[in-house]
């Protein structure tokens, strides 16, 4: 079942390519619907009967490649398909016929999702590298597609960042293979002990730093705002909601998997990502508060929200930490997809991408603005949203270990999020200046954003099931 989650998007992406430029939307919809069902069924299977495995080629690690689906993978797969389907519906209404950005949109999205799903299922360091390449290249293609010079420039910067990141990761994998003779995480985990040779430390450092670059953790965030802010709205939504989380997922996997004895041995190492995460929360929020363009505001908010994910590393020793961080991944994933989708609708309607140009949209596009506000509620962490649940758990964990500083950052970050969200809402409720026009937009654009935003809030009420799923290892 889990293998079909990888094969299906590859299949519909190739067939969409065969059909030709601009075609393939129905193939994609059918595929995405089936994928959503598969991801849900996989999660149910894991809850019922524990971790699922698949030995590709029937060889088994270390000779072959193993796919492993535990609670963490299943949760990420579920989030990816849950975000992708509404965004695909959104995209089908967003792109006009013959839009140059949509020529090969569906094949690119298909390969992107295949890369994501394959990454979440992989239990092999080299195979993860291949999935990262698939993912990164598809993402760069989506940012660059049909854009002007500026968009191509930000796509190239993104390509540079993602290639350097995967290069560092690959060098690390090569060193690990040289040391232990295997790249299977299942085989490696017991082999890497606290007394590992220096080379393994270097390899681990290279891999984690490379992945941080791909996750756009402060100060490696330089590529994210132009890439996510400049791409078409459905693309920005997909990239911010799930693609950056994929490399974070891999860091988390390495941290609690093969490198777990290293991270336990070096107490101080856990504070490095946490420190960068704190700086990311402040810097990203500050830039979002200052941003003049609406999509830049949302993109910088992603930089800030990614910071929270890295606060978890000092807390990983206690039970419930994984659940907290995955709740934050879900909260941000759903809310940010909704926010970018809503921002795209607002920009389409007002014809300009500035916060100042939003005056008066409240009465013309109430559903979209409500979606933006609901997503904002999740980002701020107000009850009963999933963002509240995530922040609550983070603070509880931080206080139980007396890491006051983490609890403080989480609280202040929520307040800062409120500042930039209300900046947009306040502007939207102002009276429209005379002569401004708000163009009609397809209903589909408004309601898909609303569905995603509502999901991010309502997940807070059904968080227990998700946490139970994540707990299965």
């Amino acid at each position: 079942m889990m293998v079909w989650l990888i094969l299906l998007p590859l299949l519909w992406a190739s067939f969409a390519f065969l059909l030709g430029p601009g075609r393939g939307v129905w193939l994609a919809m059918a595929g995405l619907l089936a994928q959503l069902w598969l991801a849900y069924a996989l999660a149910e299977e894991i809850v019922a009967s524990g971790v699922a495995e698949h030995a590709v080629g029937g060889w088994g690690a270390p000779l072959g490649i193993d796919l492993v689906a535990d609670g963490l993978s299943a949760a990420m797969l579920l989030l990816t398909q849950c975000v992708a389907l509404p965004l695909a519906v959104y995209a089908s209404a967003y792109f006009k016929r013959d839009d140059p950005a949509a020529t090969y949109f569906w094949p690119l999205v298909g390969f992107l999702l295949a890369g994501l799903n394959a990454l979440f299922l992989s239990a092999d360091l080299f195979n993860s590298y291949v999935t990262l390449e698939l993912l990164g290249l598809a993402a760069v293609g989506l940012v660059a597609a049909g854009g002007g010079a500026q968009q191509i420039a930000s796509a190239l910067r993104y390509l540079f960042a993602t290639l350097v990141g995967s290069g560092a990761y690959l060098l690390g994998v090569a060193l690990i293979y040289g040391t232990y003779g295997t790249v299977s995480t299942v085989t490696l985990t017991p082999l890497i002990g606290a007394g590992a040779p220096d080379l393994v430390w270097i390899a681990g450092g290279l891999m984690v730093v490379g992945l941080m670059l791909k996750t756009a953790l402060f100060p490696f965030h330089f590529w994210l705002p132009p890439a996510h802010g400049g791409a078409p709205a459905p693309v920005s939504a997909l990239l911010s909601a799930v693609v950056v989380k994929a490399s974070f997922y891999l860091i988390l996997r390495l941290w609690i998997g093969p490198f777990s004895s290293l991270t336990v041995a070096a107490n101080l190492v856990v504070w490095l990502p946490a420190l960068l995460g704190m700086l990311a929360v402040f810097w990203g929020s500050y830039q979002a508060i200052r941003a003049e363009r609406l999509k830049m505001l949302v993109a910088y908010s992603t930089v800030a929200q990614l910071g929270y994910l890295f606060l978890i590393f000092p807390l990983l020793v206690s039970a419930g930490a994984l659940q907290a961080v995955i709740m934050q991944v879900f909260a941000h994933g759903l809310a940010k997809a909704a926010m970018f989708a809503a921002a795209g609708t607002l920009i389409k309607a007002t014809g300009q991408d500035t916060v100042a140009g939003l005056a008066g949209v409240a009465e013309r596009l109430p559903v979209t603005l409500f979606a933006f506000g609901l997503a904002g509620v999740t980002l701020m962490g107000l009850p009963p949203s999933s963002g509240f649940l995530a922040k609550w758990q983070l603070i509880e964990l931080a206080l139980s270990q007396q890491y006051w500083v983490i609890a403080f950052v989480v609280l202040v970050g929520g307040l800062l999020a409120a500042v930039y969200v209300f900046r947009v809402l306040r502007q939207a409720f102002l009276l429209a200046p005379a002569g401004s026009v708000v163009m009609p937009v397809p209903r589909t654009l408004e309601w898909t954003a609303f569905v995603l935003a509502a999901a991010s809030v309502l997940l807070g009420l059904r968080g227990v099931e998700l946490m139970q799923l994540v707990g299965i290892t």
Partner: protein, 218 residues
């Protein structure tokens, strides 16, 4: 000054890396032995082909997807068609290229077939095919590509789709890309033949698309 610092940093890193490499114990997992032991069941006699197409065939499947994707990304960016004016080509060069092209195709077929028992295989064969196409393009015998027709798209994605179909078929019977030992050799040859054509087209396309000229695409 900045450049000096970068160089200094790189040198330090290399020294650190080399230093750490020297006190390395032999690897605890010996994959060579496992590969050698399972070689008879893999359907081919050459260990590299066995690893690429059988033991770690899933990696190769995704790598092919990456190559196809690279092609699609170039198509999707919609680079402006610039009419490049080239000086007229020496007829001797054209004649030589006409002579070389069939030979190169033969070499590609040989490499594909040889992959089963000595170094070679789809990647090398595809690269030679692509080189032939680039050569023909450089002597103006093959026009650059504008946007690929349905037939060409089928050629580009065909190899990947064959591989995917073999994977899906094996998944129905058991595991993904698990070949029954008695048919493994034939299935690998089928996959590699498809890949040779598609890889040749993709690699050639990466060149021919980026040097689009006025001529119509094939």
């Amino acid at each position: 000054m900045k450049r000096l610092l970068v160089v200094l940093g790189a040198v330090c890193f290399v020294v650190l890396l080399l230093g750490a490499m020297f006190d390395l114990a032999p690897a605890s997992v010996q994959l060579h032995a496992a590969v050698a032991a399972n070689l008879p069941a893999s359907g081919v006699e050459h260990p590299v082909t066995a690893v690429l197409l059988n033991f770690r065939g899933y990696d190769t499947l995704l790598e092919i997807a990456v190559l196809l994707l690279a092609m699609i990304v170039i198509l999707a960016t919609g680079i402006d068609t610039a009419a490049d004016v080239r000086p007229s080509v020496n007829p001797v060069l054209q004649a030589l290229a006409k002579l070389a092209a069939p030979l190169m195709i033969m070499v590609a077929v040989y490499l594909l077939w040889a992959g089963a028992f000595r170094p070679g295989g789809a990647f090398q064969a595809g690269a030679v095919l692509a080189a032939a196409a680039v050569l023909l393009h450089l002597v103006e015998l093959l026009p650059g590509w504008q946007s690929p027709s349905t037939r060409l798209r089928l050629g580009l994605a065909g190899g990947f789709l064959v591989f995917l179909a073999v994977g899906a078929g094996s998944l129905m019977r058991g595991a993904l890309l698990e070949y029954p030992p008695e048919h493994a050799g034939r299935l690998i040859l089928l996959v590699e033949s498809g890949l040779t054509v598609s890889l040749g087209l993709i690699l050639a396309g990466l060149f021919l698309l980026l040097s689009r000229d006025d001529g119509d695409g094939p």
